[in-house]
Symmetry: C2
Subunit: 365 residues, 2 copies
């Protein structure tokens, strides 16, 4: 069996810094657990644009299709704000999602005990929180046609985007959610706006269909997305797995992430269909962005990116014990009170740097 | 000058109960302040469907076009869940919004001092919170064509909705937001997803245009809507006025409402163009829904609906003092510790009924 292969795309802003710490973890597995990854590295986002004039080179895309898993840091930054839409850093990420057909975006929102005080929510509302948001990632309004901006011939313009979902697109992401629920709390809540959008009606009916035909053992409920946003703020622990579309998932998963109070901690996985070797097409990335304001200062928190690699161990390589080991090391380090700047309150502790945090996690492993 | 005219549409669920309390306030103004409203009442939502087979009768629509302001309770309920999309209770509300051209939906998210403990957020995060979300209400994905569900001829279906915004639709709601900001903290934050949606790019550019040409004195910032959802949870007091589209506004304003911890307290105003008498077309409604689970039990909190009437005094009738009077009475009642069931924690106090709350507010006036 060949070594498992990884493509690392550090991207922009703090992406490269946090990825350096992930490399330490990867190397540790080679040295200590006899798990050697074949690692390639390439450009994405603004970094790719600077080099190639496009936010993702065709060669990089081809490579991403071949490896077992892609690890991405972050894309974007003010430097690229005025670029044409078609070459914005984000288009690189969207192209990866679309062409790798990564339809299921897994966004765990977990509150780490040691950090519960850090949330803007009351401790009892978030402590122990552990929900999984499954966001559809390759369709909906991000990709639907027609789209664009046109003159209306009366001196004004019209901006159009199209929300479009098919039966199969909904069913496959619903299945992903039900499968995850079976390994967790066995409950799925599906969110849409079926009261005002026909695409929401289709969403609701197809999720219900998958439930009734294939996952009757899992508890399914439906909620309007606006009520969902409210309930996430009010009492998030009522949820186990949430499944929703690309656009609602974008807002709801970010709100859920912020509930935990520690954005720098949250990983994500984007999964597609199984490849020939049985592994799903997969891309892993931290939920946080490129944070250009702190890039290069050593303040970035590498944990979200390291936990994204742990998700790769879990979902791409079925190395549950190794994933547990990484996650356990992160918890141990937090329990010791070791904190990057983003995780410090006003208690006068001094923060560790990005690389000191990486080293502490290696030491705890 | 004729009496100001009101059309009251109590609607479904707790709508009629809370509207009864608003009637008391209206009558109080007639008896004590010599302000007499010409009040008509009619059906909307499920109640209209039960009577006429449609969620809004044409005669009611015509009446709504003629009066100075419409006051609406709430629409919807499980009884109507299986109705065809075209006659769902929500369609009655959407028809009012669309045909009255109520493009600016004002959703204040205010945290009442006496209730700050009631939020799921920490007290220092929400106490004193006072933000105004201006949601575009007559366009975007709620109304864009093409829309619908179709067979794809391969045994599956496709659900489509269209997000569509024009220059003028964006500019007019932006102006509403800038006008409001001038009377408040003089800051507007506009939210969209310009990084992935062309309609978001147009939104951002047109809001910026209105700022640069007409409101340079107001501070304008832009934020992606997912980051906006995060920031609302993290530190909502950073915002003054937020302006956003119909769909994002739906989720963001509901999340913001929940931050305050007291959904039963929050009013809203939906405003259109000025009529011949100079007053804007206007509809006022509480943010809460029809709450069918507690309808008829006397548990509903009438404050949101009463504060919606106070907004009518302010925005339709320019009766600022009278609006202050109603709002002051609500604060006084809360300060006295008088609470409906939704506003009680576990401190063993016993709640007052819907009508007792209405009476207490009248007494305080
Ligand atoms: C960077 C951006 C295109 C992206 C999105 O909107 O999907 C991001 O917000 C995310 O959630 O991964
Ligand atoms: C009832 C429903 C159609 C409505 C909406 O989605 O606009 C409601 O959620 C609101 O926010 O006023």
């Amino acid at each position: 069996m060949p070594n498992p292969s990884l493509l690392i795309l550090p991207g922009d802003g703090i992406g490269p810094e946090v990825m350096t710490e992930v490399r330490k973890v990867i190397d540790w597995f080679g040295a200590n657990k006899n798990v050697t990854f074949d690692v390639a590295e390439d450009l994405v986002g603004g970094a790719a644009y600077d080099e190639h004039g496009v936010p993702l080179h065709d060669d990089t895309m081809a490579m991403a299709q071949k490896v077992d898993a892609v690890l991405l840091g972050a894309v974007g930054g003010p430097k690229y704000d005025d670029l044409d839409f078609s070459v914005k850093p984000e288009r690189g990420l969207l192209r990866l999602r679309k062409e790798m057909d990564l339809f299921a975006n897994l966004r765990p929102a977990q509150c780490f005990d040691a950090l519960a005080d850090f949330s803007s929510l009351k401790k009892d509302v978030v402590s122990g929180l552990d929900i999984m948001i499954v966001r559809e990632l390759t369709s909906g309004i991000y990709f639907g046609e027609p789209r664009g901006i046109q003159d209306d011939n009366e001196g004004g313009r019209v901006g159009v985007n199209t929300q479009r979902y098919t039966t199969e697109e909904i069913r496959r992401v619903a299945r992903a959610a039900f499968e995850l629920a079976r390994k967790r709390g066995n409950r799925v809540c599906s969110m849409e706006k079926a009261n005002v959008m026909e695409s929401g009606i289709l969403w609701r009916e197809e999720v219900q269909w998958v439930h009734d035909h294939e996952y009757q053992d899992v508890e399914l409920s439906h909620m309007y997305a606006d009520a969902g946003a409210m309930q996430l703020v009010r009492w998030p622990k009522q949820f186990d797995v949430i499944v929703t579309d690309n656009l609602f998932g974008d807002l709801l998963s970010d709100a859920a992430a912020m509930l935990t109070g520690s954005l720098g901690m949250l990983p994500s996985a984007s999964l597609g269909k199984p490849m020939e070797n049985g592994r799903p097409k997969a891309l892993y990335e931290p939920v946080h962005g490129s944070a250009p304001d702190i890039a290069g200062t050593g303040k970035a928190n590498p944990i979200a990116c390291i936990l994204s690699f742990a998700m790769a161990l879990r979902y791409s390589f079925d190395m549950q014990d190794h994933a547990d080991l990484v996650e356990g090391a992160v918890e141990a380090v937090l329990a010791q009170g070791i904190r990057t700047a983003d995780l410090l309150g006003e208690d006068g502790k001094s923060p560790v740097s990005t690389s000191e945090m990486g080293d502490a996690i290696i030491a705890a492993m």
